[in-house]
């Protein structure tokens, strides 16, 4: 009862699109492909190098949540305020042969929470002896704190206000003057921005954030005229679509780049292994019992080999790239479920009349195998191939998660691995884990639905309704 299943490859694809699940799958996967295709517009060409060059991310906040978190929590979480040299107004004074160059910038701080970090930088081009630099921080309530007073030489100097204890002496004094005690832990990004810095320096935000107009001054004292590029970064707590990781990298770019890698790896692996398996399985059944035995023995053998441990072993000892990994994966998957399917179908086909006929008019066995047999087998493997794509994506992700995959490419597994190693699970940096995970799940879902759609078409049992 019922109509026979379509056999042409194009036919099957068309049929798949007609079903609800097929449509859903196409939509989801289409989005992924669009993501991958949009990369050239989105991110710089040498992104991969940049991902691994941690120093290049210094102007991004570390462990920042995605921007849209603001809308969900209702708190106006701070975004990064980057005062580059063009934000600074320059005034010069000359007093008896000495030059005082003052760079002034101001910003309005209206957020509901403190910044995550503060940094001051200055790039100078001085010949001769170092000059004296004063960095002054002026709060809306008029309080002035001298962040730095010392000598700088030529080149780029970075002042890690939040991290460097040497820079926090004045801040400590500020707290002492305000509260009468010296805090145990000095968190400049909180103290400088709070209405009433208590002695412990980590009061609740929102009500205590000092909103208003802040001024930052870089004052350079020198013998000669100098030119400098000051910079002051007030790091926020949110950034971008997907936040940042511990190393300040924009996770959205990383996730974006993960898409084509995952799709390419998964699809190539799934299709290549399916093809190989079908050819081997069919060939075994086609060319006679001796070959069949051989293929069966090989299949038994491969069945027992634990693929993952061996891949791990290989990855540790011989460094792998994503391509060599692909190669190994294919090698270990030469025989599998698809070869069994191919084998049983080939047995059925062997008996058929037109095969007998073709043999009589002299078609070579090999040619018949590739022209008649294998194309008929392929449709039955579609559902499996679709399902294998995410399986292989996860295989690569497993290795990357352990830190064993391609050391350069930002794959989703690698991002998850970084997150895990940095303790994101135990510290609640959920965006670092959940967003890449969501991406992988979306791809899985897409291919699962696709596989289901294919299965419905090719598999008679699911067709009857």
């Amino acid at each position: 009862m019922g109509t026979p299943p379509p056999t042409g490859i194009k036919q099957i694809l068309k049929e798949a699109l007609k079903t609800k699940t097929g449509m859903a799958a196409v939509i989801i996967l289409g989005m992924m492909i669009l993501m991958s295709a949009s990369i050239p517009f989105y991110s710089p060409v040498n992104f991969v190098k940049r991902w691994n060059d941690l120093k290049s991310w210094y102007e991004y906040p570390s462990l920042a949540a995605p921007v849209w978190v603001k809308w969900f929590t209702g708190t106006n979480l701070p975004e990064t305020i980057d005062l580059t040299s063009k934000h600074f107004r320059v005034t010069e004074e000359e007093i008896s042969g000495h030059y005082i160059t003052t760079y002034t910038a101001y910003f309005r701080y209206t957020y509901d929470d403190y910044p995550s970090e503060l940094k001051a930088l200055i790039k100078t081009d001085i010949k001769g002896k170092p000059v004296r630099l004063n960095i002054i921080f002026i709060r809306p309530d008029g309080e002035e704190i001298n962040l730095f007073n010392g000598l700088v030489s030529s080149g780029q100097t970075t002042f890690d206000i939040s991290l460097d204890p040497k820079l926090q002496k004045n801040i400590a004094r500020f707290v002492y003057e305000k509260t009468g005690t010296v805090p145990e832990v000095i968190r400049p990004e909180i103290i400088l921005f709070s209405k009433s810095p208590s002695k412990y320096g980590n009061e609740a935000a929102s009500s205590n954030v000092l909103r208003g107009r802040y001024i930052v001054k870089f004052q350079v004292l020198s013998d000669k005229k100098i030119s400098a590029e000051p910079r002051f970064i007030v790091y926020g707590k949110v950034y971008g679509f997907a936040g940042t990781d511990l190393y300040r990298r924009d996770l959205w770019l990383g996730i974006l780049w993960g898409a084509p890698v995952a799709l390419a790896f998964g699809t190539v692996a799934a299709i290549a292994t399916a093809l190989l398996q079908v050819i081997i399985g069919a060939a075994g059944a086609w060319f006679g019992p001796k070959w069949d035995e051989l293929v069966q023995r090989i299949a038994d053998f491969f069945l027992i080999i634990p693929v993952l441990p061996i891949l791990i072993l290989i990855s540790v000892i011989y460094k792998v790239t994503i391509w060599s990994l692909l190669g190994w994966v294919i090698v270990f998957s030469v025989v599998g479920v698809s070869s069994k399917i191919a084998r049983s179908i080939t047995f059925q086909i062997r008996e058929e009349q037109y095969i007998e006929a073709a043999k009589t008019y002299g078609a070579s066995k090999t040619r018949m195998l590739f022209y008649y047999v294998i194309p008929r087998i392929m449709p039955f493997t579609f559902a499996l191939v679709a399902l294998n794509v995410p399986t292989y994506i996860f295989l690569e992700a497993s290795l990357s998660f352990l830190g064993l995959g391609d050391p350069e490419l930002p794959t989703w597994g690698r991002i998850l691995g970084d997150a895990y190693s940095a303790g994101a699970l135990y510290q609640g940096y959920w965006w670092w884990v959940i967003l890449p995970a969501l991406m992988i799940m979306l791809v899985s879902l897409g291919f699962t639905l696709l596989s289901y759609a294919f299965d419905k078409i090719v598999n008679p049992r699911l067709r009857e309704e």
């Binding site: 009862m1 019922g2 109509t3 067709r463 009857e464 309704e465």
Partner: protein
């Protein structure tokens, strides 16, 4: 006039499929006289097997319609509950021999255990007595006793078929439905089985419904023949009438297409393709392939018209 052991009236069995309901058994009326055998013949896919399932109420999951009357020994089977059907009718009164005995035996259970199952379940026999009966039964079909201890795959096709027949007769039913019991067997074994069936019919006074697509085969066993086409009965009458003097154009073509060994016969064939059971033609199902189709054949379905000892569903024989 002999008593009729089975009469169906307006028997309907449609299946639900994605393309629409398949009208496998479409208002079928037939009857079986007590102690006789009725051959039900027709092309593949015309609904013959479905009719057997309809009688025994073995329905698949996707049933669309199931109605009509099945009067067996005076009782309308349709009135019985599923449980009554199962415990009183199946196997005890009506049993069945399926197409392709290769698959009708459970591969993981010994043949003997399968044969005695109905005795244990329906008649409350102890295993010992049941096995004794089983041994008798397999002897009756010409099998050695050791087959009871074997698994189905250890027996040949012919042996399996005999075993299945023995199993069907074990509870001495009144009616045995045989669905293509020999189609998967070689000619020699086929002949043996047919002889066996003839023998048993004599000895045990059985009534058969013998379903087949092979007219020649049917002629060996049939007292009456019902010709099915597209889910409906085209013609039903005594074997003599059907073979010597078929009235329905379809029957005539069928008889004409059977090669005979001796006489010079021009083989006929029936043009066109078997009808789609989802969208059967309007009016008489056969009219598109019928050389005598009239205007009324295209519009109205003919009822079964009695002509002498024959019943034909054809407008050629009146009934307007």
């Amino acid at each position: 006039m002999m008593k009729k052991i089975l009469v169906t009236e307006d028997l309907v069995l449609y299946y639900r499929t994605s393309r629409g309901p398949v009208r496998a058994v479409d208002h079928v009326n037939l009857w079986v006289e007590d102690g006789s055998s009725l051959a039900v013949v027709g092309e593949s896919g015309c609904g013959k097997s479905s009719m057997a399932y309809a009688i025994l109420r073995i329905l698949p999951r996707n049933v669309h319609s199931y109605s009509g009357k099945i009067i067996f020994d005076g009782v309308n089977l349709m009135d019985l509950t599923d449980e009554e059907m199962r415990s009183k009718i199946r196997w005890r009164k009506i049993s069945m021999v399926f197409q392709g005995a290769m698959n009708t035996l459970n591969p993981v259970i010994k043949v003997g255990d399968q044969i005695i199952e109905p005795l244990l379940i329906h008649a409350g026999y102890k295993k010992e007595e049941a096995l004794r009966e089983a041994r008798e039964a397999v002897k009756n079909v010409g099998l050695p006793e050791y087959v009871l201890d074997r698994y189905p795959h250890e027996l040949s096709g012919g042996m399996k078929q005999r075993a299945v027949i023995a199993m069907a007769l074990l509870m001495k039913p009144r009616l045995v439905i045989l669905d293509e019991p020999t189609s998967a067997l070689d000619v020699l074994t086929q002949a043996n089985i047919m002889n066996l069936l003839k023998d048993l019919k004599e000895k045990e006074r059985l009534s058969y419904i013998f379903i087949t697509h092979d007219l020649a085969l049917a002629s060996e066993l049939a007292d009456y023949v019902a010709v099915m086409y597209a889910g409906k009965i085209a013609e039903i009458g005594s074997a003599e009438t059907i073979y010597k003097n078929p009235r329905h154009p379809y029957t005539q073509k069928l008889i004409g297409s059977v090669p005979t060994l001796r006489s010079e016969k021009v083989l006929e064939f029936i043009p066109g393709a078997p009808p789609d059971l989802v969208n059967p033609p309007e009016g008489c199902r056969f009219h598109l392939r019928c050389p005598f189709a009239k205007d009324i054949c295209k519009r109205r379905e003919p009822p079964l018209i009695k002509v002498d000892n024959d019943h034909v569903a054809c407008w050629l024989y009146g009934g307007e």
